[in-house]
Every structure is written in structure tokens, then in C-alpha cells.
């Protein structure tokens, strides 16, 4: 679960973002507390706090005094936008590089994509 080589607090932030994006953590729902995150991932609470602070600064979470951290309205939308923009660099570029290595042209790729998308159930846009 915890990857080597990537800042821990970023991974924590990303995992919270993941659960917002896939819908398991709804908007206005309470996010796991710093201590809960620290205990779950067995990491230093200060690191977990750093990740949470980053999300607050980013506007993904907000703080309700005395209660805790909550998912900001519109968080999911903005995360989707962010991830779609990153999609190309994160997935497409390496995909194309690998395809080139294997001698697959863009037509081959398009074909593969259509076949694969057809046989796999993908979650439609919500």
C-alpha cells in the first residue's frame, strides 16, 4: 500500500483523494482523522497531518472547529478535472512509449482499446 520513493504525506493525501473520486467518501462527509489515518497506515501522525493540511490548502477538505475535517463541496468535481488533465501524462505517455517499443501503431492501439472497452465493464461518468 505504501509505495517506496514517494513522499509519504503525498501518498496519504492521494489515498484520501482516491476515496473521494471513487465516491466512497462523499461530499460533506467526515474525512478520517489524522490519528485514524496514522494508525491505519502505521505512520507518524505528523506525516498524516501534513497530508491532511495539504488537502485543506488545496480546498479538498475543510475544517469544522471542534469536530474535524470534512470533504468540501465540489471537491470531487475539481479532483476529476485535475486527474483528467493529468491522465495524459500519467497514463497515455507511458502507454505510447511502451506501444512504440512493441511496434504497435496508433491504429493498433485504437483497435485494442475498442475491443478491451467492449469486454470490460467500465464505470460510466456520474
Amino acid at each position: 500500500m505504501i509505495e517506496e520513493g514517494k513522499a509519504l504525506f503525498l501518498q496519504i493525501a492521494e489515498s484520501v483523494e482516491d476515496s473521494i473520486v471513487d465516491g466512497s467518501l462523499a461530499e460533506e462527509a467526515q474525512a478520517p482523522s489524522t490519528n485514524e489515518l496514522a494508525a491505519f497506515y502505521r505512520i507518524n501522525p505528523a506525516t498524516a497531518a501534513k497530508g491532511v493540511t495539504m488537502l485543506v490548502d488545496k480546498g479538498v477538505l475543510y475544517k469544522r472547529r471542534g469536530i474535524g475535517m470534512f470533504v468540501a463541496p465540489g471537491a470531487r468535481e475539481s479532483l476529476l478535472v485535475e486527474r483528467r488533465a493529468a491522465f495524459r501524462d500519467r497514463y497515455l505517455t507511458p502507454l505510447l512509449a511502451e506501444a512504440r517499443k512493441l511496434g504497435l501503431g496508433s491504429e493498433d492501439l485504437a483497435q485494442l482499446l475498442r475491443e478491451h472497452a467492449h469486454t470490460t465493464t467500465t464505470e460510466g461518468d456520474q
Binding site: I2, E3, E4, G5, K6, A7, L8, F9, L10, N35, A38, A39, Y41, R42, I43, N44, P45, A46, T47, K50, D89, T93, P94, A97, K101
Partner: protein, 320 residues
Amino acid sequence: MTINDVAPPSGAAESVIEVRNLTKRYRDAVAVDDVSFSIHKNTIYGLLGRNGAGKTTVMSILTAQNFATSGDVRVFGEHPYENARVLRRMCFVRESQKYPDDAKPIHAFATAKLFFPNWNQELADRLIADFRLPVRTRIKKLSRGQLSAVGVIIGLASRAEVTFFDEPYLGLDAVARQIFYDRLLEDYTEHPRTVILSSHLIDEVSNLIERVLVIDRGQIIMDAATDDVRDQATAIVGDAAAVDAFVAGREVLHRESLGRVASVTIAGALSPDERSRLTAAGLDIGPVSLQQLIVRTTQHADDTDATASDTRTTTKGGRR
């Protein structure tokens, strides 16, 4: 960007220990060489380094169990030597701690209760159960792991404001070590304090420690937040020629090759531009764990000193 260009700790954090130009010289060797650092309050530190690097010496001097040749040490703003006011707020559990002849763990804990103002018996009892420690067996008859458990329990249950753990979990099996890490984190979360953990097992503790202090041959070669350190190196893997071309001009920490495939660890992270160039060149990025990073940095420092070539060829893969 080199390995040591990390932003210094912010002045806002309160420091409980200040060390300035600490040196410890023995007749024929320098154990600690002009070392300076600060320890921030309520932070878990990893004090990392090879055997003989100076970790235990530094911790002993901070707790007045050993003496500096020169330099200044302040704990809670005061000199620790013969200073009961300061010492009672600290706890230093050594590796291979000596106990009174014929003492049993229950005696050791009863004594700890007398001297550590924050001692928590409930926590101690819970840990005794966790580690399955036979408290009425003489300490000299305990196994290595059980002996370590005694030290660990004292360190944790003392709830001292500054607690040092000098590899006291040597001899603990993997399960017991995990128990130690878990209980440490739990108790630290509820009762924050300053903890300094020295260890060889860097990857095991990497998720616990907030800051990293690396000592090599008596000198501090790294003093940074763990998260900052993780970004400090990248491993580039792929065709040897392509890798070498890619890393030209970067500081190389380590190089390994297996046939035509090379894995080169460079200092610093890659910019998004560089990442695209990398993928385009058909190369891959490998992860560099904290342990590898520190090991590579230490090796690099050794290599530079010995003015040996940076190139090293091994026949096994570079990754753990």
C-alpha cells in the same frame, strides 16, 4: 541539486536539545567530529548510521552518561551533567543495558516507577503482556529478545519528555518489533513526546520517523524531514547506454549493471519535462527506499573520500 540541499528546519519549531560543535575524541580516534544539530520538541527522530558511526556516543553525551571533549550541549536549555532537574525528564535505554545482579524485570520496573515522574504502570503491564515477558525470571537468565523487551518497556512506559532508544529492539523478532512500533506510535499520538530512535533497520522505521539524522564517521551528513529526504534520489533503469546519456551532468550516487541493463541512482528528483524525456528514451524510474537512499549517500561519501571510481558493477539486481 545535491543530497544536502534540503531546506533547514523552520525556526518556529521549539527545540528541546541544542548541540553546538560537539566533539568526542579518544586517544586514537575521533568518535564525534564537530557536530551541530537541534532536536525539536514532540518529534520522532531517526538517528541513523552504520556501526561505529557515533550514534551511541552522541546519545550518551546528551544524557550525561559520557562526556564531550569539546562543544556545547543543552537539554531544556541547561547542561545535563549531574543535573537532576533535566535528567529526570529524559530516558536513555541502551542496547545491552546492565541491570543489578540477580534483579528481575519486576524490580527494574518498580525502580523505574520511582524515578520517572510520568511512569505509567498500566502501559507497562500492557506491554509486559504484549511481549510475553516473564517478570519473575532473573534478568540474567532472559533471552536476548526478552532482555530487549525490558529496555523497550522502560523506555515506553517512562513517558519521559525526551526518550532515546538505542537499538534496544535488537533481538526482538519481527512480530515483537512491529508491536514496539505500533505501541510507540499509539502512545506518541496520545501523549506526544520527543523520541530519538537509532536503528540499522531504516526501512522498518521510515514510516515512524518525522525527521532523519544521519551520522557517518562522527559527522552529521543529513538532517532533514523524512518526506523531504524521500525525494532526494531517483533510480533510472534501462539500457546502459541510454541511462548514462540521460544522467549526464547529474550527481550519480550509485550505479549497478546487469548485462546491458543499468540502474543508476541520481541525486534529486525529475522535473515533469525530464520525466517525459525519460519515457521517450524508453527508460524506467525505479523507487528508492529511504534505506537505499541513506545507504547510497553513505557509500557515496565513502567513495568520494577514497577517490575511487563511482562506477560499480555487481551481479545482483539493485533493488531490495
